[in-house]
């Protein structure tokens, strides 16, 4: 126990607003903004619908002490029934198409959908490499309505935070139904 506590003390709080390059300042700003805009908890159900897993690694990183997403009240949940937002990586494979639709239907309204990565957004060179083809439907938007896209291969944690924030802002500005969801 003593070495453990020592280690904690030695590590300190790495999320502290000490200027350490642009990335760190950006994280601080984003965290403030998340709290200001949201002012409440946001729950996210992440769905990997065919990614190469690198997008997932960056989504994991959101919960490391540097980005500390959970500290802003943004939490990943196990069930889509508990989620405000679906964070979907793709290309959506044919073998996941059905499961993704079910997860979407299970998420209570009003819901936000964010497509992650060049694969999930169907953009750029990488988006074109993986679909649509016989095995994939391509972009997430080809399967369920999408509100916000976060391109990148994979998008960095900062880009992910910005995207999640944009989705929340978007939701505030369009409290009824988003245009893409006709």
């Amino acid at each position: 126990m003593i070495p453990l506590l020592k280690r904690i003390l030695k590590t300190g709080i790495v999320t502290e607003p000490v200027a350490e390059g642009d990335a760190r300042r950006e994280v601080d700003r984003l965290q403030d903004e998340v709290l200001k805009i949201l002012g409440r908890a946001l729950t996210i159900r992440e769905v990997d619908a065919g990614s190469c897993n690198a997008c997932e690694l960056e989504i994991h990183a959101l919960n490391n002490p540097y980005y500390n997403l959970e500290g802003c009240g943004i939490k990943f949940v196990a069930s889509p029934r508990h989620a405000d937002m679906l964070l979907v990586t793709g290309p959506v494979t044919k073998n996941m198409e059905n499961a993704l639709k079910i997860a979407y239907d299970c998420t209570p309204d009003p819901k936000l959908v964010v497509a992650v990565g060049d694969c999930g957004c169907g953009c750029g060179e990488v988006g074109a490499l993986f679909g649509p083809n016989y095995a994939t439907c391509g972009a997430v938007a080809n399967v369920i309505p999408v509100d916000v896209r976060i391109p990148g291969c994979p998008p960095t944690p900062v880009a992910l935070m910005q995207g999640i924030l944009a989705a929340v802002r978007y939701d505030r500005a369009h409290p009824a139904v988003s245009p893409e969801r006709s």
Binding site: E56, E58, P91
Partner: protein
């Protein structure tokens, strides 16, 4: 050369890579005899795939790679176009089961075994359509039908099933797990995969080398360097190109950095799954610092697209070398400290010890490779000396020390990961401070009709890529093989007898790739 007194004549693949012996079996019996001899000698089935050779006047071709003491023996068998069948190898090598089923789904060449369940094909395309046949057409317009899967049923009083997935509880890739349980105790565990099938092999057919490299770097994003290197090695063997010593040293630095990054992340998760959130925070902090330096020095947090056929698209100057070795110096003691905390934490050890065990005999039986195999005591590591051959450069000069542990349980896999971090840090330091001078990338001219195999010891295990080049100088067939093909069945052996809540911990201790085997 001949192996095991079998009639097949093998020739060594040219180049500097790991020893690969190429041979042809004249018929199914000869293949099966060779497989039996390889099995008797304690060999592994490293990979199995099929190809359509009808455009070049042949029929179909089956490719089997065996991992032996002498190196890898790559055996091909020509199959007639009208009746492409071959003998079932799963009786000798259980690992063949899913590879054979996938080969049928993709190419339509079948084995004569009893397990004919589809593997990669769910309901997305019809049973008589084979995506890797050159006359298959685009095939994008099939209706996506729901598909059932024939799980092995467990009967008896009180036995019931728990279905899990394809979408799992955490931020993790999809797959379906079927637990047959009595109370909390797992009697049988069976997985159904293929949910991540993106059709990459089909996409690779006809692609140029650089598009191929882009795709190979994304077969399994957490092992991007291992795949990119294995692909580059296969192309280089086929085209007779030798990457410079500097390029090889840089590749090794990238590969070892990938190994450290993944082990750091998994050790954090393994703390968390046993209720030590402290472990997650600490290791995820270290991992974040690690990948930031990767981004700084190599321009990408996971170092994607840095290894290309011919060499690398990255270089290090003196200042960068200092950053690299300084980071190794800083992170080494931190990991050591955490190792002591993990070792002395009664709660963790209670969860780790004797949980999810596999033994060396099973590891051999299932043709395992990599970290999980070494955690049963097997001395299998593509970077280390074997009885009959030295590892390819740059490993031979480094004297890589394999990390093993005989226990085979979660505790052993944790211990091996700790040990491998320490060893990788040593390797990175040594490689970086002794970087040979020279160019970092050589030109690669495609050789029409050539083929090659590349094998790299990734952080999970052996990543193998088979490449053949068409008459048009583009990729005709590329088969990437993930070690998870062999490791998933091992997980099915590790889980029974423990209780359902131990599953996440056992699963994480292996951390297998879904997408790597779903292709």
């Amino acid at each position: 050369m001949q192996l095991f007194d079998e009639p097949i004549e093998f020739t060594r693949q040219p180049g500097i890579g790991a020893p690969v012996w190429q041979g042809r079996a004249v018929d199914g019996d000869e293949l099966k005899d060779f497989a039996a001899a390889a099995h008797l000698a304690g060999g592994r089935l490293a990979a199995l795939w099929g190809s359509d050779e009808r455009l070049s006047g042949g029929g179909f071709r089956l490719h089997c790679v065996f991992g032996l003491n002498e190196g890898h023996a790559c055996l091909t068998l020509e199959l007639p176009a009208n009746d492409p069948g071959y003998p079932d190898l799963s009786g000798l090598f259980p690992a063949a089961n899913r590879m054979q089923r996938a080969t049928y789904d993709m190419v339509g060449i079948g084995h004569d075994g009893t397990d004919q369940r589809p593997w990669l094909r769910h309901g997305g395309w019809p049973a008589d359509w084979f995506p890797l046949r050159h006359d298959a057409g685009e095939g994008g317009d099939f209706s996506n039908l729901p598909s059932d899967y024939d799980f092995v049923q467990v009967g008896g009083e009180g036995a019931h099933e728990i279905p899990v997935g394809p979408i799992h509880a955490g931020i993790i890739e999809p797959g379906h797990f079927r637990f047959s349980v009595v109370g909390e105790r797992v009697l049988r565990f069976e997985s159904r995969l293929g949910y991540q099938h993106r059709g990459v092999e089909r996409r690779l057919a006809g692609a140029d080398f650089s598009t191929g490299a882009k795709i190979l770097g994304r077969i399994s994003g957490d092992a991007t360097c291992a795949y990119a290197w294995a692909y580059a090695a296969a192309i280089e063997a086929a085209c007779g190109v030798e990457p410079s010593p500097r390029a090889l040293a840089l590749r090794a630095i990238l590969l070892e950095r990938e190994r450290v990054a993944n082990h750091l992340g998994d050790l954090g998760m393994l703390g968390n799954d046993a209720a030590l959130a402290f472990g997650l925070s600490q290791f995820f902090r270290l991992k974040e610092e690690w990948v930031r330096v990767s981004a700084l020095l190599f321009g990408h947090r996971f170092m994607m697209d840095r290894i290309v056929p011919g060499g690398v698209e990255a270089d290090l100057n003196a200042a960068a070398v200092k950053v690299l070795s300084d980071q190794c110096d800083a992170i080494g003691p931190a990991v050591k400290e955490l190792h002591a905390i993990y070792d002395e934490h009664a709660g963790l050890q209670d969860r780790y010890l004797t949980t999810g065990p596999i033994d060396a005999a099973l590891a051999r039986e299932l043709s395992l490779s990599g970290m999980a195999a070494r955690a049963t005591g097997l001395l299998l590591d593509g970077r280390c000396y074997r009885l009959d051959y030295a590892p390819p450069p740059p490993w031979a000069a480094l004297g890589v020390r394999p990390v093993t542990d005989e226990r085979g349980d979660v505790a052993a896999r944790v211990a091996v990961r700790f040990g491998e971090i320490t060893e990788s840090l040593r390797l990175i330091r040594q490689l970086a401070t002794q970087l040979p001078a020279g160019a970092v990338c050589a030109e690669v001219k495609p050789v029409p009709g050539a083929s090659g195999v590349g094998i790299i010891e990734g952080w999970r295990g052996e990543v193998l890529v088979g490449v053949s080049i068409g008459a048009d100088s583009r990729l005709a067939r590329v088969h990437p093989h993930d070690p998870s093909w062999q490791l998933w069945p091992a997980l099915e052996h590790a889980v029974p007898r423990d209780i359902v809540p131990d599953f996440p911990l056992i699963n994480k201790s292996f951390n297998l790739s879904y997408v790597g085997q779903d292709l």
